[in-house]
């Protein structure tokens, strides 16, 4: 009987350790803890070119993370990219003329959306559209433009 009891205790400890490991992976390693403030609101922004932006890319304001990209689709009318931004509900006081730009973190880093507040009195609501947007900087285009203007300059 004593033998059985100690077996049960060690098995209990084993299962608890396994669950604790999974819990540590969830809380400490993954971004599950971010999801606690998931209940926010969504706004839509249209870009001419989103470059390498992906779903789950961060949305920041003054460098502070205020949400993430929750959906990317193509507008079938004007062929723009429609990006859905999920913003945390704590940041519910963004003016309606907030502008969104796509930037790159570092030279080769991932792309993210940076919001800049405007001056309107009214705030963005769920489902609103961000009017002022600035597309991603595509390095190939910039290099192409540079070479083109240089060639033009040589001709003169």
């Amino acid at each position: 009987m004593l033998q059985k009891k100690s077996t049960e205790i060690t098995v209990g400890m084993f299962v608890a350790a396994g669950i604790a490991a999974l819990f540590m992976l969830a809380m400490k390693v993954s971004n599950l803890s971010d999801f606690s403030d998931e209940v926010g609101y969504q706004v839509i922004a249209e870009f001419e070119n989103i470059g390498g932006l992906k779903v789950r890319s961060p949305v920041t304001m003054a460098g502070v993370r205020v949400g993430r990209v929750s959906g990317i689709s193509l507008d079938s009318v004007n062929y723009n990219a429609r990006v859905t931004l999920s913003l945390y509900s704590t940041f519910d006081n963004l003016p309606t003329d907030t502008s969104a730009s796509i930037y790159t973190a570092g030279l080769l880093g991932e792309q993210y959306i940076s919001l800049e507040a405007g001056a309107e009195e009214e705030f963005l609501q769920n489902g609103d559209v961000v009017e002022l947007t600035q597309s991603a900087l595509v390095l190939e285009q910039v290099i192409g433009q540079f070479l083109f203007s240089k060639a033009e300059g040589d001709e003169e």
Partner: protein, 260 residues
């Protein structure tokens, strides 16, 4: 010429026969599992010998795998000035691949071979036939509890492997190589996803646990009832489990992360 074709045919037939028997065996095991919840102490006993006794090797290997990953990753990343990404690299490779796969390989070597030897010896000493004589179904009394125990322990062991590995990587990365600890954890948290990375790793380990215990029990149950037969069955368990784990890992990875 005819002889070669005939031996090929014999090989094919016996392979399919073994495969068929293996699947019938699995159906019998699954049929025996519901009854186990009434006598869960049988499962707890097996959890002890399958799971608890494997913890040490899993934890030690996890620690060293994490530490080595950290060292090796650092030397590559430091060239790009990206040593803060060490945490991401270690956590993704552990959680997605190495955790489930290496712990399943160790599990096959540590627990799978023990299961095969145990069941094979029970068969060769006619304990299983003895049970049948006493109207005790060995499937329900011997095989099913072991199967359920392996199925439960594998994901827990894989989670421990990954967690201990990440701690080992942190110890080496922060303590020895001087990577900033805040960047280590925050980059890891930013890039590791609970559903896409961790839960998929858990699903992998559940599949591996299922397959490894199935192979181990079947090889034991199907072993020739001689000491040589049990020995060969034990070898086969380890070899076949390793093949199954690595093959399934490819398939599962392609399914889960394919279009990522």
């Amino acid at each position: 010429m005819i002889g070669i074709i005939r031996s090929l045919g014999r090989w094919g037939l016996s392979t399919f026969e073994r495969l068929g028997r293996g699947h019938l065996f699995l159906v019998q095991i699954l049929a025996g599992i519901p009854g186990l919840f009434l006598r869960f102490s049988l499962v707890i006993q097996q959890l002890f010998s399958v799971g608890v006794l494997s913890v040490l090797i899993i934890a030690v290997s996890g620690l060293f795998v994490g530490m080595v990953l950290s060292l090796q990753g650092y030397y590559v990343l430091v060239d790009f000035g990206a040593e803060e990404s060490l945490g991401v690299m270690v956590s993704l490779s552990l959680v997605r691949e190495l955790g489930p796969v290496v712990s399943a390989l160790l599990f096959a070597g540590r627990a799978g071979s023990a299961l095969t030897a145990e069941v094979g010896l029970m068969k060769s000493t006619e304990q299983l036939s003895g049970m049948e004589m006493m109207a005790v179904d060995p499937m329900r009394r011997v095989i099913a509890p072991r199967f359920l125990a392996g199925f439960i322990s594998m994901p827990l062991l894989a989670a421990m492997f990954s967690a201990v590995g990440i701690i080992g990587a942190f110890l080496v990365g922060h303590g020895l190589l001087g990577v900033d600890d805040g960047a280590f954890w925050s980059q890891m948290q930013a890039k590791t996803d609970w559903y896409d990375d961790i839960l998929n790793g858990v699903i992998k380990s559940i599949v591996f646990g299922f397959v490894v215990t199935w192979i181990a029990l079947y090889e034991g149950y199907d072993a020739l009832p001689t000491s040589e037969g049990v020995g060969r069955a034990t070898t086969r368990t380890v070899v076949h489990s390793a093949f199954a784990i690595l093959g399934l890992d490819f398939v599962l990875t392609a399914l889960m992360f394919g279009e990522g």
